[in-house]
């Protein structure tokens, strides 16, 4: 029986479903040529964003990645702004200027998604620095992937956060592939979490598709950070069901591999657990799923009907002019 409150579990379940439907809808829209550029889908990794962010307030920060729709939806709660930003509309998070890879919602503590692999880690350190400097007990979570764990910024950022004892939580979403290159080819260790020892901080590897496992690991790290004891590294092993980018032929793995992971679907697993623990009924959970689907539809309509940003305003916001 999980210690997580029913309310929170339902929140997590709802958010995971929103993410799932959102990503599937994004895939559909992309295939229908309604989205510009590319989208990097989070399908299959929902548990990580939902479980971690469910424990954060609006004053806690996150930084996110190119694969950041999940983090964005979980932290901001605004499906409409998310879908509108994917479509480059004026009603998007970034008024159409950022797109899929640069979602941000500062008022909800989302310091921004970064398209530079590893680019968000130093910024997360900065967020944690501000929180510590101002004497709050807030924390900053940096989401990144296995690929980023090999970037120089990984090393520098965790080292700096550790030395300054900053309230940062580094969450490595290890889905085993950096575009087409598997971790076995790129990463010197099997578990990224062992690198934590190199910075004298706690490091732990969990099943990224197990909401409860992720929740528990995050809970510890968050508490440690809030107490001013410094950063932690959590590695959540998972799988992205879709290719790196929409249109990725995925020559680097087999259908069977993916199918095996899909069996371990985090949503299915959480549903089963909640039913088992009698936290919720089928009907309740169905309703949540339906609502999530409907909300995504609504967000899509909203986005489709939203106006494009006016080209005459293109030069706005290069500088803050007071």
């Amino acid at each position: 029986m999980s210690k997580i409150s029913k309310e929170k579990q339902l929140w997590i379940y709802r958010v995971m479903n929103e993410i799932r439907y959102f990503e599937e809808k994004a895939y559909e829209l992309f295939a229908a040529n309604k989205l510009r550029g590319s989208v990097h889908l989070y399908t299959g990794e929902e548990a990580i964003a939902a479980a971690v962010i469910s424990q954060l307030t609006d004053e806690d920060y996150i930084t996110s990645t190119h694969r950041g729709h999940g983090h964005g939806i979980a932290k901001s709660g605004d499906l409409k702004a998310a879908m509108a930003e994917l479509m480059g509309k004026d009603t998007g998070f970034c008024r159409g200027r950022g797109g899929s890879m640069h979602i941000a919602d500062l008022k909800k503590g989302h310091l921004g998604a970064n398209a530079i692999v590893g680019g968000g880690l130093p910024i997360a350190v900065g967020g944690a620095l501000a929180q510590s400097y101002l004497g709050t007990d807030r924390v900053t979570v940096a989401f990144f992937g296995d690929g980023a764990s090999n970037q120089g910024t990984f090393h520098e950022s965790i080292n700096l956060a550790s030395v300054w004892k900053l309230p940062a939580i580094f969450i490595c979403e290890n889905n085993a592939f950096a575009i087409t290159v598997p971790v076995t080819q790129s990463t010197s260790v099997k578990d990224v979490s062992v690198r934590a020892a190199g910075y004298d901080i706690p490091g732990v590897t969990v099943d990224g598709n197990d909401v409860y496992a992720v929740y528990e690991a995050a809970e510890k790290a968050i508490e440690r950070a809030r107490k001013g004891l410094g950063p932690s590294l959590i590695e959540a092993k998972t799988c992205r069901w879709r290719g790196h980018w929409t249109g990725d032929p995925e020559v680097y793995r087999t259908r069977e591999e993916v199918a095996a992971w899909m069996e371990k679907c985090p949503i299915k697993r959480m549903r089963a657990k909640m039913l088992e623990d009698k936290v919720a009924t089928e009907a309740e959970l169905d309703a949540i799923e339906q609502k999530a689907k409907a909300d995504v539809e609504e967000a899509t309509d909203f986005a489709l009907n939203s106006p494009e940003p006016d080209p005459a305003t293109v030069m706005d916001h290069v500088y803050y002019e007071g």
Binding site: F93, R97, G126, A130, G152, E156
Partner: protein
């Protein structure tokens, strides 16, 4: 008014601003107890303590990026790079993050960050520690770029940089730290960005220059004066925003333009000045504009070689005379 060195002027502004606004913190290598390798933060650790005056590990990406993140989150960090050559090490955080966050996030974020440090020739620091890199940052939208040539300009521009809510790249010069000049006592003394300084008025040619080369150009100008040639010398002080109007008005008067800087000549900021002025004051030009800058060669260690790379006094005079068809 007080007579201060360039370094003192910088330090005093840092101290005054940190007293005024407790959101300001400074970080960089060796800046705390040591007071910075060039002495620009001397005494600040004693006054403000380790929370606000932080030594960083040698992790430019991390601490410049931390500056970006902290600024986005509401603080006003001033990051010192020991050599502005090291902006290259942290380029992603400067050009992809600091410069772009505001715009990419639809104007919903501000990055009130200052990245400051020294650069340039003068200490035999060889190729990777003697560069003048300010021109690169003119090219990427979202940043502001300041280059003070005097203690007063250092004080006035640094104050504006700190109070500006945009990311500012602040380029000091190692050979100017010990120079002395008058600095106003006013704790709000600030020089607005985008306002060039006419260092010397003249009638025959307009020379645009910055940082160390302001004084080197003045040496050449004095010798030209004795030959009856009167040069107007302009220091833009900020490259972004750039006060091109002052230069244009000057060239309308003189008809001749020469740009001189320590940065490499190709795509150094002189290139932009020449292009902009030619466009705006074409019919006033009596000669093709001249650009002088370091030759396209890595700065050598040997002093004689270094002098052969950067613009010399003779080269400056010759360029002026070429515009006068002499």
């Amino acid at each position: 008014m007080a007579i201060k060195t360039y370094a003192q002027a910088i330090r005093d502004v840092l101290a005054e601003e940190m007293r005024r606004d407790d959101k300001i913190l400074i970080m960089g290598e060796d800046i705390a107890e040591q007071g910075g390798i060039f002495g620009c933060t001397r005494g600040l650790y004693d006054e403000f303590g380790p929370k606000r005056v932080r030594n960083t590990p040698i992790s430019e990406s991390a601490f410049v990026g931390a500056g970006v993140g902290a600024a986005t989150a509401g603080l006003r960090p001033v990051v010192e790079l020991m050599y502005m050559d090291f902006t290259y090490v942290a380029m992603d955080q400067i050009l992809n993050q600091a410069a772009k966050i505001r715009y990419m996030f639809g104007g919903k974020a501000r990055v009130p960050l200052v990245v400051r440090g020294q650069q340039g020739i003068g200490r035999g620091n060889a190729g990777q520690h003697s560069q003048s890199v300010e021109s690169l940052f003119m090219h990427i939208p979202g940043l502001k770029v300041a280059c003070p040539a005097t203690p007063a300009d250092a004080a006035g521009l640094l104050r504006t940089a700190i109070r500006d809510d945009n990311p500012v790249m602040f380029f000091e010069h190692k050979a100017l730290y010990a120079t002395k000049g008058e600095v106003p006592d006013d704790p709000d003394f600030a020089i607005p960005f985008g306002k060039a300084r006419i260092v010397r008025e003249g009638t025959d040619a307009t020379i645009v220059t910055n940082l160390l080369y302001v004084s080197r150009v003045m040496d050449a100008v004095k010798e030209l004066e004795a030959e009856g040639i009167s040069c107007e010398v302009i220091d833009p002080r900020t490259l972004v925003p750039l006060d091109i109007d002052t230069v244009v008005e000057s060239v309308k008067k003189t008809g001749r333009l020469i740009t001189v800087h320590e940065a490499h000549v190709t795509m150094g900021f002189g290139t932009e000045v020449v292009a902009a002025v030619t466009n705006k004051a074409f019919r006033y030009l009596d000669a093709p504009p001249e650009r002088l800058g370091a030759k396209m060669c890595t700065l050598p260690f040997n002093l004689g070689l270094e002098n052969a790379v950067v613009p010399s006094k003779e080269e400056i005079k010759a360029a002026v005379k070429r515009t006068l068809h002499l």
